[in-house]
């Protein structure tokens, strides 16, 4: 297909060449370096540094908190009694000196796997623009529709012959933009229900379905002869892939009911929890990227009640996923990213928000990462006592995307074309190349 990016095969060849050279040189310079040293480091970029963890992740889970998730009640609590905390409190975690909000007791026990960035800062305080920026790493721009992180990662590491989609979104996500629909997420709205249209209606048995498809193939023949294969091939491909997905036993990965009770309990009863279970099942069957969305974070009113309810879904869902991945030995090769479009305002009930509500706040908020070569039990960056401004190590969206690329072994500087326009995977704003967040890996 004309718009798909380079094929996996060519990527592999190039990477292997690059790695051979780089690994050799790196071994001479520093014997402690891990094997996976990537080609962009070898080219001695201005910020070039041999970071560990490169390419450690083979798959990616995105936990997207739609609406703008609070940083205060989650991973960046302020002191008890602080006016900005309201009735929420910090609690200790399995990592000494790292506190999280008291409504996340299970996450508190899992913090040795988690790296929290408490100083993410952007300028997009509008839902659509913030969602676009955080997912794509680019400021919205009417000329170019950039791919979301799920799509660009899938396009770099995915397998075009895979029976299952390379990128599954549970609850909706950012699309593939100029990479083309081939890399759009396969969207599942409800992880607790069967996948939409995956099974035939009662009056169409398998024999009848195959009769229809072979009839269709015959009917297409004259048109194909007159107008060429390139017109017909994409249609044929679409039905082939749909049929394969129907017929493969691997599609049982979408069926959460196959899981034992103990696992379902671990992840919690919520739809989000079930989404996380399905995510793990899909990863085990070879899906490269799964995004699970938890909505409801736009807490302009009565925030505490809303966040408490969200925590009942998020706390067991996310901690269950991390623990389950760890127990199965998958966490090290799986990068998990928790993020939202922006954070919430430090003060409660101010600035046009209802009683007990918080507004949109992109200036200083949190993102959490785990697995995939990222060192757990860490906190990066800090905000002042009120949480108004970043006081330490402000982190940009570009650095976060560079980190995802680093973990996934993707060349963040690779250029794809949106029409005639060259677009790097990670934006270089005003010519600045943003490096992965070093503190995550060393």
């Amino acid at each position: 297909m004309s718009r798909s990016p380079r094929t996996r095969a060519s990527a592999t060849r190039r990477d292997v060449l690059g790695w051979g050279l780089a690994a050799g040189a790196a071994a001479l310079l520093n014997p402690r370096l891990p094997f996976a040293v990537a080609k962009d480091e070898k080219q001695a970029k201005p910020d070039g540094e041999l970071l560990p963890g490169k390419g450690r992740a083979k798959r990616l889970v995105l936990l997207y908190m739609a609406g703008g998730a609070t940083q205060f009640e989650t991973w960046a609590p302020k002191k008890k009694g602080s006016p900005n905390m309201g009735e929420a409190e910090p609690i200790n975690t399995s990592v000494e000196g790292v506190e999280v909000g008291s409504w996340f007791p299970n996450m508190a026990k899992t913090m040795d796997d988690v790296c929290v960035v408490r100083s993410v800062t952007t300028r997009e305080g509008n839902h659509d623009r913030g969602r676009y920026l955080m997912h794509t790493g680019y400021v919205p721009n009417p000329t170019v529709l950039h791919p979301g992180v799920g799509s660009y990662v899938a396009s770099e590491i995915g397998d075009t012959n895979s029976v299952l989609p390379n990128f599954v979104s549970i609850g909706g996500s950012q699309g593939a933009g100029f990479l083309g629909v081939e890399w759009d997420p396969f969207v599942v709205q409800n992880p607790a229900a069967p996948v939409e249209n995956l099974t035939s209606p009662p009056n169409i048995d398998k024999r009848r379905r195959d009769t229809r498809l072979s009839l269709l193939d015959r009917l297409n023949r004259e048109f194909e002869g007159d107008r060429g294969d390139e017109a017909v091939a994409p249609h044929r491909n679409m039905f082939d892939r749909a049929k394969k997905l129907m017929d493969t036993a691997k599609n049982r990965a979408f069926d959460v009911t196959e899981e034992p009770e103990s696992i379902l309990k671990l992840y919690g009863e919520s739809t989000f929890g079930k989404g996380c279970v399905v995510a793990r099942r899909l990863l085990e069957q070879g899906v490269k990227v799964v995004e699970v969305t938890l909505g409801g974070w736009d807490t302009h009113n009565n925030e505490h009640a809303a966040v408490k309810a969200l925590a009942e879904a998020l706390d067991p869902g996310m901690s269950g996923l991390l623990k389950d991945l760890r127990d199965r030995g998958l966490l090290d090769e799986t990068l998990v990213v928790w993020f939202s479009e922006f954070g919430r305002t430090p003060r409660v009930g101010e600035g046009g928000n209802g009683p007990g509500g918080r507004g949109h706040y992109p200036q200083a908020f949190s993102v959490a990462m785990a697995g995939g070569g990222v060192r757990g039990g860490r906190v990066i960056g800090a905000t002042d006592a009120d949480g108004v401004a970043c006081t330490e190590r402000p982190v940009t969206v570009q650095e976060l995307h560079a980190s995802v690329c680093h973990s996934m072994g993707i060349d963040q500087d690779r250029i794809r074309f949106a029409g005639r326009r060259p677009v790097r995977i990670v934006d270089q704003l005003e010519g600045v190349r943003y490096a992965p967040v070093r503190e995550m890996y060393v």
């Binding site: 297909m1 004309s2 305080g125 509008n126 659509d128 721009n141 009417p142 000329t143 529709l145 989609p165 699309g175 933009g177 100029f178 083309g180 629909v181 081939e182 759009d184 396969f186 969207v187 939409e196 249209n197 995956l198 099974t199 035939s200 209606p201 009056n203 169409i204 009848r208 009769t211 229809r212 498809l213 009839l215 269709l216 009917l219 297409n220 004259e222 048109f223 007159d226 107008r227 060429g228 390139e230 017109a231 017909v232 994409p234 249609h235 491909n237 679409m238 039905f239 892939r241 749909a242 049929k243 997905l245 129907m246 600035g351 046009g352 029409g419 005639r420 326009r421 704003l429 005003e430």
Partner: protein, 575 residues
């Protein structure tokens, strides 16, 4: 009298036109000589002549023969109404012995309600995207307005003038749809208006000088965006207003008190937020800030415009943009329409006019642009011209074994993918479900009038039911069909799809065909005419008969044939 022409004369009356003309790059061409009915036949012949010039320069080039009547009818109906012809229309057209029937059908289609409906959706999607729940546009009011423009065949320059200068409340003025879609971003307004109406990707210069057009600097983009700095935007969120309601206004500039010369005060009045390069979302965010400096506005590759007391900057921009002297305006639209009908722009991609992206046939582009401007931007004249060309009326078939020639030669008609709307309107018509859709639309329309309105256009909402499963990059110009797995699953297994394919369904053409036809031959033939708008070939007829005769039962056999016909590439494309 329309607003544009009247404001022109208003300007002249006040003696202000001279001011604008003296300072800006505006130059109004003299009014076109009053001509009789515009001669689209001559224009089409000229366009073909310019195309043949390029064809002749190619060696061993195969040019496709003319499309037969069925191919032409289906293509032109799909292009002008966004759906397939009905069975009755097809049969009547194929039987009509009149040599002028192709012209007659174009007239019939252009004057149909369906044409205005479809063009409103097509053009609306282009301007503000296809999302049914665009939170920034009263899509219903916008669609109503667009529909009215195409119904009246409103001159294109007037239409764009209204879109760019629209003010007031979004419910009262449907033309506001484009302006409200920008919210408070002047960069969006500048980037999109220059792209849609001038064909120039000026947005490329938002962050740096234009990479492909060295003439356009970053400062040019900023100065162009300054045309929108005197516009204010406000989202109404009171319980008394519709769900989606906006006010967009302009504050006319006044001489600053106590200052010398013509320096203008730039203080917005009212509760709206001015459009800026760095958007602000809420009035509260402006509190405590100094009034933003108001930089001069500058036309694209033109001169700086001095503000005129009482005159809004958007008006000045719209006048320059839509004037006959504008080097891009007419060509950009001629190119867009040419690309729409022919499957490829003379400048390709359509809205990327730049020094490094030359037109494949500059003479043709210039001719079409001139023809459009000469005809006072008569949209239907341009359409008639294009669809009357030999190039448009060529077959999309190529002799087997030959490679399809360079699409910019237009030697063979293009195979164009259908939009989501076209796909479903065609499917609804082929399966008879159209009747049910119309019933539902009528019901919903009536209900919505009484309720709070402004949510979505009901027709757009119907498409939205399917859009999720279909490939659709909003705002993207699809060149190739790339079907998604959900689309395949929907077509194979969707309950609704299978329901409308069923011969038991009361609206289904199968029901009538099975009851009325005397032979299987006739049944197959009628089904082909209903779905593919043509007769089957001998081979296809035999193939279909074999299928029907080997089916478990007749009803199932025909249902499967209907399903398969509706999923052919032929059905799912315009060719």
């Amino acid at each position: 009298m329309d607003r544009r022409r009247s404001s022109k004369s208003w300007l002249a009356a006040l003696g202000l036109a001279g001011l604008v003309l003296a300072t800006g790059a505006v130059s109004f061409a003299p009014p076109a000589a009053a001509a009789g009915p515009k001669d689209w036949k001559a224009a089409a012949a000229k366009a073909d002549e310019l195309l043949v010039g390029r064809l002749k320069s190619q060696k061993d080039l195969v040019v496709a023969p003319p499309a037969d009547d069925a191919e032409f009818l289906r293509r032109v109906t799909m292009d002008l109404q966004g759906t397939i012809p009905t069975y009755e229309e097809t049969v009547a057209f194929l039987q009509d012995p009149s040599p002028a029937k192709r012209t007659a059908v174009v007239d019939r289609l252009l004057s149909s309600t369906r044409h205005a409906d479809w063009f409103a959706i097509w053009y609306g999607n282009l301007l503000v995207g296809s999302s049914a729940r665009n939170r920034n546009v009263d899509r219903r009011a916008f669609n109503d307005w667009l529909r009215e423009q195409f119904r009246k065949n409103r001159p294109y320059d007037e239409m764009v003038y209204d879109l760019v200068t629209a003010s007031g409340n979004s419910e009262q003025n449907g033309a506001l749809g484009l302006m409200t879609s920008f919210e408070t971003s002047a960069a969006d307004a500048a980037g999109k208006t220059s792209r849609y109406f001038l064909g120039v990707q000026m947005q490329c210069a938002q962050c740096h000088d234009h990479p492909y057009d060295k003439r356009i600097k970053q400062t040019d983009f900023q100065a162009y965006a300054a045309f929108f700095f005197t516009t204010t935007y406000r989202r109404n969120m009171s319980p008394n207003t519709p769900d989606i309601s906006f006010d967009v206004n302009s504050y006319a500039l006044e001489p600053a008190k106590g200052r010398a010369g013509t320096e203008m005060a730039a203080m917005p009045r009212g509760r709206g937020i001015p459009l800026m390069l760095e958007p602000v979302r809420r009035p509260a965010d402006l509190r405590g800030r100094a009034a933003p400096a108001l930089p001069d506005a500058k036309f694209l590759l033109g001169k700086t415009v001095k503000d005129v007391p009482g005159l809004d900057r958007r008006t000045v921009l719209a006048k320059w943009m839509t004037s006959k002297g504008n080097e891009w305006f007419a060509e950009a639209f001629a190119n867009r329409m040419w690309a729409y009908f022919m499957g490829r722009g003379i400048v390709h991609p359509v809205d990327d006019f730049s020094t490094s992206n030359k037109p494949s046939n500059p003479e043709l582009l210039k001719f079409l642009g001139d023809e459009l401007a000469r005809g006072d931007f008569d949209v239907n004249h341009l359409i008639r011209t294009i669809v009357a060309t030999d190039a448009y009326q060529r077959s999309s078939k190529m002799p087997r074994g030959l490679e399809r020639p360079d699409p910019s030669l237009y030697a063979v008609a293009a195979v164009k993918p259908l939009s989501v709307e076209q796909s479903f309107d065609a499917l609804f018509r082929a399966t008879g479900a159209e009747a049910e859709v119309e019933r539902r639309l009528a019901l919903r329309g009536n209900n919505m009038e009484g309720a709070r309105r402004g949510l979505v256009d009901p027709r757009t909402q119907i498409y939205q039911l399917f859009r999720r499963s279909f490939d659709d990059d909003e705002g993207a110009e699809e060149e190739t069909f790339t079907g998604t797995i959900p689309r395949g699953l929907l077509m194979m297994n969707g309950m609704e799809i299978n329901r409308i394919m069923s011969s038991v369904n009361g609206d289904s053409p199968l029901k009538r065909i099975l009851a009325e036809s005397r032979s299987d031959r006739e049944r197959v033939r009628r089904l082909y005419l209903t779905v593919l708008s043509r007769d089957p070939s001998a081979g296809e007829l035999n193939n279909a008969l074999t299928h029907v005769h080997t089916s478990r039962n007749e009803q199932e056999g025909y249902e499967d044939l209907l399903w398969a016909l509706c999923n052919t590439t032929e059905f799912m494309s315009n060719h």
